[in-house]
Amino acid sequence: MSTDTVAPAAAKPLSLRRILPPIVTGQEIVLLGVLVILWVLLGIFTPAFLTPASIGPLLVQVAPIALIGVGMTFVIITAGIDVSVAAMIMVSAVTTARMLVAFDIPAIAAVLVAIVIGAALGAINGFLIAYGRVHPIIITFGTANLFQWLGLRVFDSSTVNGIPSTLEFFGRGGAGSTLGVPHSFAIAVIAVAAAWWFLRYAKAGRNLYAIGGNQNAARLAGIKVQPRLVWVYVVTGALAGLAACMVIATGTATLDQSVGSGKELQVIAAVVIGGTSILGGRGSVVGTLLGAILVQTVVSGVTQLGWPTQLGFLFVGIFILVAVGTDLIRERTRRRA
């Protein structure tokens, strides 16, 4: 029940810590615990799991999901959703790959191209959602189809062959890591850290929670809700663009039109496992990162254990329910207390 009992009106000092939510949420601790247990178990049952040769590629695989997850967390905190990220990856990846092949542009230019394309597509989502005032899931269902069409037009019924190794900095190979830390994963971690800080301390970040909690009240409080929403979807698009570079780098020298497919559900799964409320107003990017690692651990773990790969996603489904279930139970006990 509510806890607003009357306490003596003594002037207690009010610390910053008490105004903002706890630094680490219960969901994050639970996830970390589950991850540690999983990794220990996998380490015991498959000797090779806890080796750099196994962990490295796993983290590389996590990176694009976690990276887009940052944007998706922003989006879901504002009570939105973006199911067009897979299509944005596709458009961004194929265009960038074509430019790499045709003009042999340098890595930095390729990254910029990818990000700009992603951001532009995100801006389309953002404007339609903020100013069209139609539910984000509907808008992004619609734009996902448009983007996919666009991507297929760029593919023009063929694959992109002979992609140079310009982007190997993000890749799985030796050039893709420093001291055993894959660059792409490091980038994802940096993005998560920046987003964590932004959501916690920056005005624009805190306002996202307000928008997700009660959009009308946010508008009445003078928050420029619509520009903020546009910005959130632009960021998601830009991150999808950057993730597209990682997808190119971790793929082969060939890019085909299946690129990105299914990633939207993986990203959403990572975000919700991480404890972000699908109803908006509450969420954390650290949880998203842990959620992304958990999903990939389960999928890789099943393969490494030699179990039928078809079972992997059964476990992913179960983990989604378990992770969100613990959050539900904690929420309920918090209310009862």
Binding site: T3, L20, N214, A217, A221, K224
Partner: protein, 536 residues
């Protein structure tokens, strides 16, 4: 700044430039003409009451001033200068601060964060909490909220405390016009006293305050002038001292008001009996009984636990211990549908979140509680639906062109009648009413009271749970005063307001204590559910 002497200046339009002038304001919502050609003039440093029946257009008028709605016609001048208010940001920049009828807050954020949303003090890109904190804590003190609440999530606070937060929040920045849209509707009397203190102080500092309320008597204690609205028009505007409550009420409805609904009569069998009923954290050891044809009033301050008694009787919550005998059955109803089967009905306190199916038609809203009447074996006959709803629309004088209108577009009072209609489709054996006329205008209030009396006359046992002192005196045969989760005292309806208030505030035998008690914060019990939270 303006000195207080001007507050006695009787003639509007004279003296220095008005703080605010709204001229010829009109606003339509589709076919509904919410306001037509309304005018209002507010002088500096005055408290200006805005009254009118439900749906008269008060909220719409102030939403236009606050920038939350755009008017179709009209001009607004502040301190003599014409201004254009296109958004809430514009209004805030012009010094217009608003406390909306429904608190516009963020349940997931802490109280402290709620204060500063949209106007954070920043250092670089980050929010400077140390700079924000002192002012916020001061304001919590001002409105009589405990400082420790600052770190609570807002959603964990009672609705009354949320309302106080939203008032405090409006004081954060120096306002030249402060709008309070029914700030007192859900506050306890003690909280209202604190609010009045704040309002008086602000007015003395030269702030102009627009104060909307349906509690007409309280306006005489706080307001300098009053503007009366009827059907979207402003019908008169003058110093409040020139009018009586009765005159204001008559101008609001455009006619005379009948008196009294209370009837003496014989009461039938026991319908509801509670013995030592306890709900942990809300109320304990409650014993009471209601007979057929009797109206029992349960009066208590907000948070006294009275509200939860109704929820237990209706099966929304399970009691922790004690006995309940309702409608000839010894078991507690486990769910509202079980309560319904036994002829128990309840009108919840919050009509918008607990009562209305906003975009469904009125007919849907009326019949949804009695689907069994619409046909056999789970069948629904549109004809039966129309018959039942048209009948109730007529009986309750709901103002609507047809039962096909969505309830969401109706004013508060009419919506309340529809929610009430739902529970009296079949004559209930026991009707529990929580705050049946909260935020309802005098005309509609009158009608609702008459409906209640009518039901009792036809044999329904009625339990009215209210925080409205005048209401409980008017309609109840017996009044049980609730305090700190217990029945403190039982009174006949003839008891004086002072003694009722004294009992509720904790000074039973000393009517003089009632006066002092109202000036102080009253201990609240935890346990009032926050709106939107699920029971159980």
């Amino acid at each position: 700044m303006t000195d207080t002497a001007q507050r006695t200046d009787p003639a509007p339009g004279q003296g220095p430039t008005p703080r605010l002038e709204m001229r010829d304001i009109s606003k339509r919502y589709g076919g509904v003409r919410a306001i037509r050609h309304a005018d209002i003039t507010v002088r500096p440093g005055t408290v200006h009451a805005l009254v009118g029946e439900n749906g008269a257009g008060k909220s719409t008028l102030i939403k236009i001033l606050a920038g939350a709605e755009r008017p179709d016609t009209g001009t607004i001048a502040i301190d003599g200068h014409d201004v254009s208010i296109a958004s809430t940001t514009d209004a805030i920049a012009l010094g217009v601060q608003t406390v909306y009828q429904e608190p516009q807050l963020f349940p997931e954020l802490t109280v402290a964060e709620n204060f500063f949303v949209g106007r954070e003090i920043t250092r670089g890109p980050t929010i400077d909490w140390r700079a924000q904190a002192p002012r916020m804590l001061e304001l919590l003190d001002t409105v009589g909220l405990d400082r420790s609440l600052a770190s609570q999530p807002l959603g964990a606070l009672s609705i009354a405390k949320q309302q106080q937060v939203s008032i405090a929040k409006a004081l954060l920045e120096q306002a030249s016009v402060l709008i309070l849209d029914e700030p007192s509707a859900i506050l306890t009397d003690a909280e209202i006293e604190v609010l009045f203190g704040v309002v008086r102080r602000l007015a003395a500092d030269g702030v102009s305050i627009i104060y909307i309320s349906h509690r007409l008597d309280e306006l005489f204690r706080i307001a300098d002038e009053v503007t009366i609205m009827r059907d979207g028009e402003t019908v008169s505007s003058q110093p409040i001292g020139e009018l009586t409550v009765r005159e204001i009420a008559e101008r609001m409805v455009g006619g005379e008001i009948a008196e009294g609904v209370h009837k003496e009569g014989e009461h039938g069998d026991l319908v509801l009996e509670l013995e030592h009923l306890t709900l942990d954290g809300a109320f304990s050891d409650v014993s009471l009984s209601v007979r057929a044809g009797e109206v029992v009033g349960l009066y208590g301050l907000v948070g006294s636990g009275a509200a939860e008694v109704g929820e237990v009787v209706y099966g929304m919550r399970a009691a922790s211990s004690g006995r309940m005998r309702a409608a000839g059955d010894d078991r507690h109803p486990a769910t509202p549908s079980e309560a319904k089967r036994r002829g128990i009905r309840m009108v919840p306190a919050n009509r918008s979140s607990q009562g209305s199916f906003s975009f469904q038609p009125i007919a849907f809203n009326i019949t949804i509680g009695s689907l069994g009447l619409l046909g056999r074996l789970g069948w629904v006959s549109p004809k039966a639906e129309r018959r039942i709803s048209d009948d109730l629309i007529r009986r309750l004088a709901v103002k609507t062109p047809s039962g096909r209108q969505p309830i969401g577009a109706m004013s508060g009072g009419n919506a309340q009648k529809v929610v009430l209609a739902r529970q009296i489709v079949e004559q209930p054996r026991l009707l529990v009413l929580a705050e049946p006329t909260q935020g309802v205008d005098v005309g509609a209030k009158e009608e609702i009271h008459r409906i209640i009396a009518d039901l009792a006359e036809r044999g329904t046992a009625v339990l009215v749970i209210t925080t409205d002192l005048a209401e409980v005196q008017r309609i109840a045969d017996r009044i049980l005063v609730f305090r700190s989760g217990r029945v403190a005292h039982e009174f006949p309806p003839s008891a004086s307001q002072a003694s009722l208030l004294a009992a509720a505030a904790g000074a039973v035998d000393d009517p003089a204590a009632a006066q002092t008690a109202t000036g102080q914060p009253v201990a609240d019990l935890p346990g009032r559910p926050t709106p939107g939270e699920e029971p159980r």
